[in-house]
Amino acid sequence: MLFSGSGFAAATRATTHTVVIEGTQFTPGDLTVKRGDAVVWINKDPFPHTATASAAGFDSKNIAPGKSWKYRPRKAGVFPYSCTLHTTMKGTLHVE
């Protein structure tokens, strides 16, 4: 149990990463983070977007203009995601 988790190490060194949604695009489109880090998507467009993992994983639901959504990945892996409202928008979250 003591060795099972990312808990201690991650908690002391967790980083917050920002993905900007603007011009109907995720920037950066490709992001690598560590388990326990925070990812914040901020919507700078004048209409709503989502950040929704293609397989099960995460779903921001609608992020209104000017609002943001924070997610803390717990599982390692590669997570392609897109905006369900504008499916031309794609990104990938790499969790280590």
Binding site: G23, T24, Q25, D45, F47, P48, T88
Partner: protein, 176 residues
């Protein structure tokens, strides 16, 4: 080609093009074209939201209302800040009348026929607006912030076009 599209394209041609003197639209005219173009899609979307038979068409219509209202809010705020007053012109007028014509026609349809007509028009309309952005509006915008706004919203219209095409394909398969 639909009447709306021909009218819009030729009105743009008049404003932007071949006639002897400098007829490229100025920023005030560009602002009017953009606001009108958004409003036309909002109006069609409101009708489709209430009338469409297919759930996905309804959802698309709602998204058109949401997105184009958002863009207009940004555009209006910007021109207010720049102290530019949108100036009606042949292009914005033809967009407006084309839009009214489309709505009239749609009002006379229902069920699958309504859905197809609405979506077909959305495909053509978004393509026409994207072309106008690329050929006339973005190249001629003089103010940097106005140009930046046009460039920033273009990909949303591309996403709308792709979405409309997907629905168009789906509706095409439904009947068969």
């Amino acid at each position: 080609m639909k009447i709306t599209t021909i009218a819009f394209a030729s009105a743009l041609f008049l404003v932007g093009g071949a006639a002897a003197q400098d007829t490229a639209p100025n920023d005030a005219q560009i602002a009017s074209i953009v606001v009108t173009a958004n409003q036309v899609d909002i109006d069609a979307g409101k009708l489709a939201k209430s009338k469409a038979a297919d759930k996905e068409v309804k959802a698309f219509a709602q998204q058109m209302i949401t997105d184009h209202t958002g863009v207009n809010k940004s555009a209006t705020a910007l021109v207010k800040k720049l102290k530019v007053k949108p100036e009606d012109n042949p292009t914005s007028a033809s967009l407006k009348s084309g839009g009214e014509e489309n709505v009239s026609k749609l009002k006379g349809l229902k069920g699958a026929a309504f859905d197809s007509a609405y979506v077909d028009h959305e495909v053509e309309y978004h393509q026409t607006v994207i072309d106008a952005l690329d050929k006339t509006l973005i190249p001629n915008a003089k103010n940097d912030e106005l140009k930046a706004l046009l460039v920033k919203v273009r990909p949303a219209f591309v996403a709308h076009l792709e979405h409309a095409k997907q629905i168009q394909t789906k509706l095409g398969k439904k009947g068969s």
